[in-house]
Symmetry: C2
Subunit: 152 residues, 2 copies
DNA sequence: TATTGTTATACTCTATAACTATA
DNA sequence: TATAGTTATAGAGTATAACAATA
């Protein structure tokens, strides 16, 4: 059996050589590490992402948040309810279009956000410790080539 | 406001600059594309990964398969049952240790595997179309730096 | 005592469909 | 008709705990 074959599969077809599989494993590890670092905040990756984006785009519409995060509004609704109940966001009525909700962080969430961002930075530092600064920049660029829509 | 800031967050802390977030988005896109390509085979990423590894390591123990795929045996058990019912794998008794199951592909699965691997290659080709050959190799290396245990 | 494998169960994420209100 | 948002529900992935059989 040649070196270019992994048992029964050509090396290029081996599971370990598949980028999709390695994306899933790396993502699972990152998810896990995130929940360890953020446990005390009761924020999950999705809820943190929502807060971070609302922080970066005050007044963003719920539908726009769905689009930006690649979520269905049916799945977003209960999460917005959760964040509102916890006093982290406000759903404000749009002036002209009564269908629209404008999302904003509460003062309490605004105050907490810098510390949460620092925690996330520590989490990234930990699960990326084997990558150099340059490698991290490269990885970021390549990941965005995969999923970011060219049209945007 | 300086160019180095994304609204309220320093650029390095912006959601879009987080590798964990981008891993999750890229992985979700890959998952989605996988299920489109593999729909007619009724194989999901997990079940395909199990078959591919059993193909690459005939006779692998169930516990070893769990370890290699990062799964809990409690979650593996029903999937092995599914694959056995579909006539794709056999769970053979170990000669010396009666607790152990040795996993093998059936003849029918062995015959189908090359076509399934080709379909997965097409899927990878599609969701990675914006990455060059070199970039794909780099991405693979960086992803494995994140999740593959140094001890192995 | 530890390991292999199973069952039961709960939680999160995601997908679809049906719905209300508004444009 | 189309869009914004909600509710209900089902499927898949993953986590823990309790268990039986074997080492």
């Amino acid at each position: 059996m040649s070196e270019t074959r992994v048992r029964n599969a050509a090396a290029e077809d081996a599971l370990d050589a598949q980028i999709g599989y390695n994306l899933r494993r790396a993502s699972a590890l990152a998810l896990n590490d995130f929940s360890v670092e953020m446990a005390e905040t009761s924020l999950r990756p999705v809820t943190y992402a929502m807060l971070a984006l609302i922080d970066e785009r005050p007044g963003v519409r719920a539908a726009e948040l769905c689009r930006l995060l690649g979520m269905k509004s049916a799945n977003m609704a209960p999460l917005l309810g959760e964040l509102e109940e916890r006093g982290l966001i406000a759903r404000d009525d749009h002036a002209e279009d009564k269908r629209v909700q404008e999302l904003n962080l509460t003062e309490s969430a605004k105050a907490a956000m810098p510390a949460w961002r620092r925690k996330v930075r520590r989490h990234e530092e930990r699960f990326l410790q084997r990558l150099s600064r340059n490698e991290r920049a490269t990885l970021l660029r390549l990941l965005r080539l995969i999923w970011v829509d060219e049209a945007e």
